[in-house]
Amino acid sequence: MQNVLLMCLSVVAQIEEIIGDGEAVATLNGVRKTIELGLLEDDVNVGDWVLLHTGYAISKVDYEQARKMLDAMELADSL
């Protein structure tokens, strides 16, 4: 039980439902949880992925960027 109450834990969650009042329901590892959106400036929609820190979304996750980074890693030697 203690393990889920850590301050350093940041997890990625997907928005399932916006419930207004700066809150949303998100799923993380299959578990539905109410999360706080008030610290995010960007608009968040159902289906978006966010980085959660102690229950608050602190950033939208940009998988497009992540994929670009992976693609940029060349397999060939560059030296």
Partner: protein, 365 residues
């Protein structure tokens, strides 16, 4: 369509390619390379994946002051314990619950003695407890780095009930980096910046560092492949003689950080000189509540004197471990008297502590 196994193969190939490049760069550099990260979660990534055992001999990954529980001053815990003894409800993250102060007693001991200490998942849960217990004072232990601080600020901006108090001891990464980089005992050649601190704060405040200290920097993610990618980016800068500051965690880190989080912190906190456990006072390195939020400051409830001269248990070398000057293996207690089950110092108690992580994921070299 691509199968799952195709992705895995691709990822494995990329990881292998990154390692090959890292090895090559180290060979070209042909000198000792010391890369420091300042994040407990990065240490977990490195130790869990056994990354150190895969790296060339002249590349050392050093774990810096990245565990908020470890650097939280012993006074904070002693104060929280005193406030608990006075009939207040203490609310805290689970990580803080087991950390002893200099008496070797933690909040968990006080709970066992019948005092009201509650571990919660977030600052908003602490506010809810205050709403449900209007006749009691509820004290929220506000600790952590820039990643954890905005939540407390945000809750205070929402005007919580007047029986809600914060004992704020947030700590800031840039002043600690300044300290490490100007330390003549360290010969650091590269810095991996913490991924989630920079998610909040952005990169701007680190802009001057590479030139000031002649050292490249990059931000890394927390998957092993993301960490290796950042390492490769860093080494490439060294090979090219580039003193850059690069974002290798574009998945969540933006250059400007999270403007809203920064704004609430600016409204609620003031920057103060602050004590780091095992290190001492670092100038302008902490957040406390500013005058506008004075009524919520738990320090106003303190009518007792707490000042500790030595803040680590006897023989514990956490101070050196936190600064990356002592490897846990060099501490005589490591895995002898001090184990995850019989932890002596904060670096072994905390899940983010270097001693704890090293003990959990023993490496084969």
């Amino acid at each position: 369509m691509k199968e799952y196994s195709d992705y895995l193969t691709e990822l494995n190939e990329k990881t292998a390619a990154l390692l090959t490049k890292i090895t090559k760069y180290c060979k070209v550099l042909n000198r000792q390379i010391n890369v420091m990260h300042v994040c407990g979660t990065h240490e977990a990534t490195v130790s869990r994946a056994g990354i150190r055992s895969l790296l060339p001999k002249n590349l050392r990954i050093i774990s810096g002051p990245g565990c908020p529980v470890c650097i939280c001053p012993a006074e904070h815990i002693t104060t929280a314990k005193e406030l608990a003894k006075r009939g207040n409800i203490i609310t805290t993250f689970g990580d803080m619950f087991k950390v002893p102060d200099t008496t070797l007693k933690s909040l968990s001991h006080l709970k066992a003695e019948g005092h009201d200490i509650r571990t919660v998942y977030s600052a908003m849960d602490a506010v809810k407890i205050a709403e449900k217990n209007p006749d009691k004072r509820v004290i929220w232990l506000g600790v952590g780095f820039e990643t954890t601080a905005p939540m407390t600020a945000y809750e205070l901006m929402k005007k919580p009930p007047s029986n809600f108090y914060v004992l704020a001891d947030f700590r800031l990464v840039p002043p600690a980096l300044d300290l490490l980089l100007s330390d003549p005992e360290h010969e650091l050649t590269g810095i991996i910046l913490p991924g989630h601190v920079t998610t909040v704060m952005g990169l701007k405040e680190y802009e001057e560092f590479p030139r000031r200290y002649g050292i490249p920097m990059t931000v890394a993610g927390f998957e092993a492949v993301e960490f290796l990618y950042a390492l490769e980016v860093l080494l490439k800068m060294m090979v090219d003689g580039e003193l850059g500051l690069k974002n290798s965690y574009t998945k969540v880190v933006r250059y400007e950080g999270n403007p809203k989080a920064k704004e609430v912190m600016k409204k609620v906190f003031k920057v103060v000189d602050a004590k780091w456990r095992g290190i001492g006072t670092v100038k302008q390195s902490g957040y406390d509540l500013n005058e506008d939020f004075r009524e919520y400051n738990a320090r106003n409830l303190i009518d007792f004197d707490i000042s500790l001269e030595y803040d680590l248990p006897k023989g514990c070398r956490c101070g050196g471990v936190i600064l990356g000057k002592v490897e846990p293996e060099e501490c005589p207690h490591f895995l002898r008297r001090c184990t995850p089950e019989t932890a002596i110092g904060p670096c072994m108690v905390s899940d983010e502590g270097t001693c704890r992580i090293r003990a959990t994921f023993r490496e084969v070299r």
